[in-house]
Subunit: 292 residues, 2 copies
Amino acid sequence: MSFAYAQSPLNRRADLRGNVTELAIHHGLPTSKCVHVAGDAVRMAQGSLDVAMPAATKEIVFLGLDQQGHAWFATQDNPGDSHVSLRTLMIEGSLPAAELSILAQARSLILWHAAHGFCAQCGKPTSMQDAGYRRQCQGCGASHFPRTDPVVIMAVCKDNKTLLGRQAAWPEGMYSTLAGFVEPGETLEQAAHREVMEEVGVRLSAVSYVASQPWPFPASLMVGLIAEAETETLTIDTSEIEAAQWFEAAELKQMLDHTHPKGWHCSRPDAIAWHLAQAALKKISGSFASPQ
Amino acid sequence: MSFAYAQSPLNRRADLRGNVTELAIHHGLPTSKCVHVAGDAVRMAQGSLDVAMPAATKEIVFLGLDQQGHAWFATQDNPGDSHVSLRTLMIEGSLPAAELSILAQARSLILWHAAHGFCAQCGKPTSMQDAGYRRQCQGCGASHFPRTDPVVIMAVCKDNKTLLGRQAAWPEGMYSTLAGFVEPGETLEQAAHREVMEEVGVRLSAVSYVASQPWPFPASLMVGLIAEAETETLTIDTSEIEAAQWFEAAELKQMLDHTHPKGWHCSRPDAIAWHLAQAALKKISGSFASPQ
């Protein structure tokens, strides 16, 4: 499986993060690149990423070295006309998958810095350390590290049917897999059981891992699962989702192929949700052992 | 697989978190329980958990309802003589697995509250909301949510050997699977590749998911993997680990069984690491197809 944000070519070289001298050399090389992140958008220049290095005095995050050994950095930018959102870049497919994946790392880290200028422990200002992988409090000295939020996202199957739902904010006709944040003290499997029970009142029997995807809105790690349901009746929590229903294989295939008569469709192939729906289709088609 | 912290019987009932009236009723019921967490320790009473409800004025976190429908809460406590650390409780096996798992949730949440009294965005004080699943800034109004840090932990195999390492701080003779935090913008699989390359210079070919475990020191989610290595030469980063080596099946079995002549051994069965070493033993034994 290959989907958006999951194909970074960078070697993160954590060993360089504390090496101020070597990073300063990379900063001065003409081959070094820096992406300029403003909110969930990045600065473009003539249809490509603007990778101009900023002044040496500007705070930058070290992302890693690419396969040519060239350094990539990221910095926070002010919003402007030449910025395009990561979602738009993903949908338009205007950037190579490798660059979009580098932006996932850049966007998550830059947003974390932007939202962590103060110490959660004592309220005093913090400053960037270790080339962007730590912030330290100038008051109490506490260290703070970038945050990644694990999310379970699951295709639920029962016999020849798969369960998909939709949120009110989604594009009209789009149905996708259920998802939710993992809570403290839970396994991934427990989180899947809980989320499906909360959102649609369905009890799961088995849960299997499929794949994972970084999702930089703002800093999630999507853990893709396929699950089997024990029960079928839906009790929808409308505070979380607008609708949910079971789809048989033929209808699910139409939704994946964008040929459904009502215009219903799955999410885009950039998202792990699409691949989970594909995996579910394979599973529920297999349960018929139809001659294909 | 069943290991420590992964067997919570609680229904978290997220729908009750905003229901002040119903939570107040539960607070007053004689069947309701509250655990008292101080750092990584919990208050005990005569060899059992002290589950006395605190005064109604004290800030408490709602953990969920048990199978009898009784509410469990958690609150922050001052350290004292009657407190025992979660690690000691795990090692001694003095609590039921279900209660130890409830403590994982309690400890992660209470520690998060203790360390987030201030807004990371503006430095002003925050207050507990939603029965402990959110903090809100009294200055800028920003919402902050509990944090769970995904960690990859992996048994690396090559032909008939498994790679284990040890940290200087560990008990003498203990070897275990390599592990490290997932970074922003990474898949689980990329994190495994990176960590193994960083720590021992070994390149992986394949990575498969095995199981997950909450690890409340302070709030990690261990994602257990089994990996195949493409290369074998070890280049150890001694800033991260003290030693690492490849173990053949017979020696690995001795380490799991605590019969190794040098006293070398794997971690305890409470940890997912032990189960990964078991899975690795099965895998490398299988690669010989020996008649057993």
